[in-house]
């Protein structure tokens, strides 16, 4: 399988489940992205007369809740693996109900540095702030059947900026890095007026091999490497 090289090959032991999941995520997501992109191109390839609507431009803002896949790591440092995410972006709805959007969002939460020993967590009282800022490109399809609610789904790719800043840290000890991730999402949009709609959306993202490299990170101790997670959000959409 592509994207599933050495670390995932070889005999699999009990306890490798998380690694296998990670491999599956890493190998399946490019396919999903590929399907989304193919759908967009196929829409453009159709004759104009066959298209169901004009091109529309929309903007949106959203707020949601993300639960990170690296549950133990986020819980150890931030007290919870779940936090509020604010976002917004722009979207183009193409003929044949295809849409493409770009979304930026931000998760930011403060906690403390810790030491974990024998399964016990000891807070050290040193403030730490983690900021995750994904910039995501999504393509998808809107199931417009004349219903008051329009279901939609899609997938895409993103660049996830990760920052971790602690008190008493030297510059080199703080973290400011970015990783590539993939996501799929689905939702339903309810049009409130001609120019205004609301939507509920769920997104699953994976950002493989982002965490777990540094011995001073709890993510290594917990063998958690994925910066992705599951997000539920509500959106306000302006535009047709």
């Amino acid at each position: 399988m592509s994207g599933c090289s050495t670390p995932c090959d070889g005999p699999r032991r009990h306890g490798d489940t998380e690694k296998i999941r990670s491999c599956l995520r890493a190998s399946v997501t490019p396919w999903l992205v590929g399907v989304a992109v193919a759908a967009i191109f196929s829409a453009f390839a159709r004759p104009a007369s066959a298209q169901g609507r004009d091109i529309g431009f929309r903007g949106f803002a959203d707020v949601g809740s993300t639960t990170f896949a690296a549950t133990q790591s986020f819980e150890a440092i931030l007290g919870s693996a779940t936090g509020v995410v604010f976002g917004g972006g722009g979207e183009v709805v193409l003929p044949k109900n295809i849409f493409v959007n770009v979304r930026a969002s931000r998760f930011r939460k403060s906690g403390e540095r810790v030491f974990v020993s024998g399964g016990e967590r000891f807070g050290l009282g040193i403030p730490t702030t983690v900021t995750v800022t994904p910039l995501e490109l999504t393509g998808g399809y809107r199931l417009e059947r004349g219903w008051p609610v329009v279901p939609y789904g899609g997938g895409g790719i993103g660049r996830h900026q990760y920052e971790e800043v602690s008190d008493f840290a030297e510059t080199s000890e703080n973290v400011d890095v970015s990783f590539t991730g993939y996501h799929v999402l689905g939702g339903a949009e309810f049009r409130v007026s001609r120019w205004l709609a609301a939507a509920g959306e769920v997104q699953w993202a994976t950002v493989p091999d982002a965490l777990g490299d540094d011995e001073n990170g709890v993510s290594q101790m917990f063998n958690e490497s994925d910066l992705g997670g599951l997000t539920f959000r509500v959106k306000v959409v302006i535009g047709r």
Binding site: V116, F122, T128, F168
Partner: protein
């Protein structure tokens, strides 16, 4: 004093030829001395930095045993019977060694069994140890301090930059008074007072006799840089069986200084955890204790009781810059396990015996068996193992202990303690021999694993203040963040490496 004469004299005295008491111990002496004449004396005298003194060897077990050439006390042994053993069965077993139980002692989970003073206590202990109803039996081995003095100001304290303490203090500035560190040692210069002792005659084998001085009034003062009375909690003296653990040597005071010397006060030198409280627990006897006829010696059982006392009275960190070689010490092991079970972290010096046969030190050998206790080796200013520092599988961490063989006097560890010319008066020969005084202080360079251990004890206090309350977690943290020295990974010279308080105090982030 002529330096070469002094060095020779120290060697002679410390070589164990030294002190042969002219008379046997006088049991009633302990009832009269020390006699507190006054709580107040003249203020302590500060003799300043002693960086021109010649280097002195670290104190080894063989050099520290000054009065008796046997490593144990005669006339009694330590026995712990299994719970529920009937009194009749105990008596029957003790009859095999012609022994009987003495009165129960506080802070002791064991019995002291009196035996014939002419009998071999090791043989008697072995015989009882083989009985099914005996948990353990051992001779009362004598414990010694693990270091040696030299002579002092922060810029001379290379030991703190060597472990990145300045950045560590940024994170945790010296712990807090809520943490009590027990110094199980020769006592601490923690109070002032005028005490009367009876100085008996003694002699140096193949050397001069020193006259009895009779009743002598000895002035004591608190080490100015250890702080006021509020700094000390629950002082206890197991050598004189009282509540005045006066330091008659300087070792314990130096060790206490590295743990908690007042810092950032524009005076003198710095300590690791300069806000903690200190519990002076005297469990070892030194020259003057012996000359003055202390009723107890620093034996395994005395140390074990000291450990229990410290923990029962609230100590969270125990520093044991003491030790001995010889057979194992189950009585100390049991006490240390008790201490750790009560939430205290225990630090032991790894020993200074490398050049003297590298025998396994007790109680440092217990450290690998107990999560929550560490044995500490010494490094010099060059971050290389000090030439005297014992090696073995028991070594878990390394810390600055000084090595004057590489760098001279200033390569030792600097702290305030007694000015040695006022305490080691026997080095000046019988004609100039006078009573000591323990109210004159100087900044002295000492070296030894005794000096390394209190760095780790202070470090443990900082971690406890930072929120690491489990002794096992403290040990795990110290090992995880230790800077590897010597061969890659754990080794017998440095253990897991040189302590790194700053990295440990900073702990783990999510990613880094």
């Amino acid at each position: 004093m002529n330096i070469s004469f002094r060095t020779r004299a120290v060697a002679l005295v410390l070589a164990g030829l030294g002190a042969v008491l002219a008379t046997a111990q006088e049991p009633d002496t302990a009832l009269r001395f020390p006699l507190l004449l006054s709580d107040f004396t003249a203020p302590a005298i500060d003799r300043g930095l002693r960086d021109n003194d010649p280097p002195r060897e670290p104190r080894r077990e063989s050099t520290a045993r000054i009065v008796r050439d046997e490593p144990f006390e005669r006339g009694s042994i330590i026995v712990k019977f299994r719970a529920g053993t009937p009194a009749a069965a105990r008596r029957a077993m003790l009859a095999q060694v012609d022994g009987f139980t003495t009165q129960a002692l506080p802070y002791a989970s064991f019995d002291i069994v009196a035996i014939d003073p002419a009998a071999d206590p090791e043989a008697a202990a072995r015989r009882l140890d083989a009985q099914p109803d005996v948990d353990y039996a051992q001779a009362r081995y004598r414990i010694s301090p693990m270091f040696t003095p030299n002579d002092p100001f922060y810029s001379r304290q290379w030991n703190y930059p060597a472990i990145d303490m300045e950045r560590a203090w940024d994170i945790n500035p010296g712990a807090a008074p809520g943490i009590t560190v027990a110094v199980l040692d020769s006592g601490v210069a923690y109070r002032s007072g005028l005490f009367r002792y009876n100085a008996r005659a003694f002699g140096i084998a193949n050397g001069p006799m020193f006259p009895a001085l009779g009743a002598v009034d000895i002035p004591f003062a608190a080490a100015p840089e250890l702080g006021g009375p509020e700094r000390f909690v629950s002082p206890r003296n197991f050598i004189w069986n009282d509540t005045n653990p006066l330091d008659l040597d300087g070792h314990g005071t130096h060790v206490a200084g590295t743990i908690g010397q007042l810092t950032n006060n524009s005076v003198g030198v710095a300590g690791m955890a300069f806000n903690v409280r200190i519990m002076p627990v005297k469990v070892i006897d030194t020259f003057w204790d012996i000359i003055f006829g202390s009723p107890f010696r620093g034996t395994d059982d005395v140390v074990a009781r000291g450990v229990r006392y410290a923990v029962d009275n609230g100590a969270k960190v125990l520093n044991m810059s003491i030790g001995r070689t010889g057979p194992p010490a189950p009585v100390m092991q049991e006490a240390i396990q008790y201490a750790v079970a009560q939430g205290a972290f225990v630090v032991a010096a790894a020993g200074n015996e490398f050049l003297d046969g590298n025998s396994t030190p007790r109680p440092a050998d217990i450290a690998p068996l107990v999560d929550g206790m560490v044995a500490v080796a010494a490094i010099g200013r060059d971050r290389v193992r000090a030439r005297y520092s014992s090696t073995g599988s028991f070594v878990e961490l390394a810390a600055p202990g000084g090595d004057t063989s590489r760098g001279g006097t200033e390569a030792g560890i600097l702290q305030q303690t007694f000015a040695t010319e006022f305490t080691e008066t026997f080095l000046q020969g019988p004609s100039r021999y006078t009573a000591p005084r323990f109210d004159v202080f100087a900044y002295e360079f000492f070296q030894g694993t005794s000096m390394a251990a209190p760095h780790v004890a202070g470090f443990a206090a900082l971690l406890m203040q930072q929120g690491i309350t489990s002794p096992a977690a403290i040990e795990a943290m110290m090992k995880r963040y230790a800077t590897d020295l010597g061969p890659e990974g754990r080794d017998n010279e440095y253990g897991y490496g040189l302590i790194n308080p700053r990295a440990a105090l900073r702990g783990m982030g999510l990613m880094r």
